[in-house]
């Protein structure tokens, strides 16, 4: 594992840049554990202070330090995004592979559910869930709902890959040698599907973070829990742009752009690692 990381850092510029950006953002988010103020406290500091040596990124109109607010916000947003991604990848891989490999009735049943979910619009459903749940709405429930909405396109993609693998010689050989269906799927087909999983995971992470930001900006989430969208929501509520408190909006947006860029570069270079052909041509064997 360590050797893989070292090789990627040495031979792959995209990975190096992506790694530095993502690690930087991650370390910054980790720093919120050492924050001098609790992240939900308001009116602790003088409001509307521009960036200065005392408050590096300024303070908000709610008397919070932008730096420490952002640190918590990125942590919470990343946690949400990763939870959605992991849950929806599990669903997509399971449904896609089972449906593609078994075919027949399994395929029909799973793909009917899949296509129904594709046809449903996401935002109205999430809003509906929010209005039904009201005060019980917290981020794990939102993550679960988003995961249930975010796996279907990728399940179809994975299904199509497995559908073609099913008729390859090595699959027939594996069946002949007595491997069971789960063994064939996990040992023979999963390595083939992994690049698809990684790349769709990237898209899904961006989609999930975007979804969280959208809902939070509109106020349809737990607004007291700092997130990137939540910060923008409060900035809008206090008319930060009109009042000239630009640092309240600019810094969260810069942070999220850096995070997206880092994750994207990581995803494309990890893809290259997983495909042995392109990896070996770059690293020279």
């Amino acid at each position: 594992m360590f050797k893989i990381l070292r090789d990627l850092l040495r031979y792959n510029v995209e990975f190096l840049i992506g790694f530095v950006l993502t690690a930087g953002i991650f370390l910054f988010a980790l720093a919120h554990f050492f924050a001098p103020y609790p992240d939900t406290a308001i009116y602790l500091l003088p409001p509307d202070m521009p960036p200065s040596p005392e408050y590096w990124l300024g303070t908000t109109s709610r008397g919070q330090d932008v730096l420490w607010q952002m640190s918590s916000a990125i942590w919470n947003t990343m946690t949400f995004g990763l939870t959605v991604t992991v849950l929806s990848r599990l669903l997509a891989v399971t449904v896609g592979m089972v449906s593609g490999y078994l075919g027949g009735k399994w395929d029909e049943a799973l793909m009917t559910v899949n296509d129904t979910l594709i046809a449903l619009p996401n935002i109205p459903i999430l809003l509906l869930v929010y209005f039904v749940m009201r005060d019980q709405m917290n981020w794990p429930v939102l993550a679960l709902t988003a995961a249930l909405l975010g796996w279907n396109h990728d399940a179809r993609l994975i299904r199509s890959v497995v559908l073609s693998l099913r008729h390859r010689e090595f699959t027939r050989h594996a069946v002949f040698a007595g491997m069971s269906v789960p063994q064939i799927l996990i040992r023979q087909h999963l390595p083939y599907v992994m690049p698809v999983v990684f790349f769709t995971a990237m898209n899904n992470l961006i989609w999930a973070i975007g979804l969280e930001v959208t809902l939070s900006v509109l106020g349809f989430s737990d607004i007291n829990r700092p997130t990137i969208g939540g910060m923008i929501y409060w900035a809008n509520q206090h008319q930060a742009i009109i009042a000239g408190i630009w640092w309240w909006i600019a810094f969260p947006i810069i942070a999220i752009v850096i995070l997206f860029l880092g994750l994207f570069l990581l995803a494309i270079s990890v893809n290259e690692y997983i495909d042995p052909r392109s990896r070996l041509s770059r690293m020279g064997g």
Partner: protein, 339 residues
């Protein structure tokens, strides 16, 4: 080691007995049902320690026959009647009566070198994993023992054990083919099915691979069923040869006899189509093409293309009868001469 566990009478028993095997592709698309009789009433036995060649042109049902023998069939292919019985070390195994036992015997006792076996190795995994996945479960060895067994086996087959750590795309076609043979023989099976293993290779590599198969076969004392349309390959490797035409076995016998004195006109034609040293005359092609197996001709299936056909051939199907050295299914057996 194996010989000690086998008592005298079973050692002489044939390793495979196929009786009146019929396997049809039964399809029903949009209300139209079709039945393709790809294996029609085949009876054959294969002895221990021999290479049995199955010859025939494309779409004659060669591959279907051996798939059925190996029990590796999927719908729409179905076994309609007949039986396939293996005898591994004294234990009888009926492929279609007890499919579970068959599943456990595969790879351990019965292995398969598949058509297009260049693609048998998973392109995104190291070669080592193929051995782990296919063979490890059948050997009952510790991982270290298994590893050294595999490495020893590769060395004996003239392969560097370092190939285990490489990906299939890093190896040449010939090496991949050798690897698939190594993979199929690492468990030292009693019965090996080779389905066109040399078809995609050039003649030099082909020779190499044939020598390897023969070598492995002799060392293990296993039986090999070797399927190819290439008669020169059969001449080089097979002890006995069976000629398949339109899903039926039409002639069977020791390779030398079949080449020197073919009894069936189809066999004679296959042999006369081979180029011979010093002979510059043009080879005559057999007119017509193999029959459509969903609607085969009446009587002898070869009669529309047969130069010796008589009226009887059109109505009565000739049975496969024993002759001095083999069996042949023809009303005018032995009358043909090789051009």
């Amino acid at each position: 080691m194996l010989a000690a566990t086998i008592d005298a009478p079973t050692r002489t028993r044939p390793v495979l007995e196929v009786e009146n095997l019929k396997a049809y592709y039964q399809m029903n698309y949009f209300g139209v049902s079709r039945e393709v009789r790809a294996v029609d009433d085949v009876t054959l036995t294969i002895n221990r320690n021999e290479i049995y060649g199955i010859a025939g042109e494309s779409s004659s049902g060669k591959s279907t026959l051996i798939k059925t023998i190996a029990g590796a069939i999927t719908p729409p292919l179905r076994v309609v009647s007949g039986s396939v019985k293996f005898d591994f070390g004294g234990s009888q195994l009926d492929v279609y009566a007890r499919p579970k036992a068959m599943k456990a015997a595969r790879w351990r006792h019965l292995s398969y070198i598949m058509q297009g076996s260049m693609n048998v190795l998973n392109p995104v995994r190291k070669v080592r994993h193929a051995f782990d996945d296919f063979a490890f479960r059948h050997m009952g060895l510790s991982p270290a023992q298994f590893r050294s067994r595999v490495e020893g086996h590769l060395k004996r087959l003239g392969l560097d054990p370092r190939v285990l750590e490489s990906y299939p795309h890093q190896l040449s076609g010939g090496m991949r083919q050798r690897l698939t043979i190594a993979l199929a023989t690492v468990c030292e099976p009693e019965f090996i099915i080779a389905d066109e293993p040399t078809t995609a290779l050039d003649v030099l590599v082909q020779q190499d691979v044939l020598a390897l198969i023969k070598d492995v076969q002799q060392r293990l004392g296993s039986s090999v069923v070797f399927v190819t349309h290439d008669m020169t390959v059969h001449a080089a490797i097979a002890d006995r040869i069976g000629i398949v035409y339109a899903g039926r076995l039409v002639e069977e016998g020791p390779t030398d006899d079949a080449f020197a004195r073919p009894q069936h006109p189809y066999t004679a034609h296959l042999i006369s189509s081979l180029p011979r040293l010093g002979d510059v005359s043009r080879r005559k092609a057999l007119p017509g093409k193999p029959p459509n197996l969903s609607d085969p001709p009446s009587g002898c299936r070869f009669h529309p293309r047969c130069p010796l056909a008589i009226d009887r051939c059109k109505v009565e199907n000739p049975p496969l009868v024993s002759r001095a050295t083999g069996r042949v299914a023809c009303w005018r057996a032995g009358e043909v001469e090789v051009a």
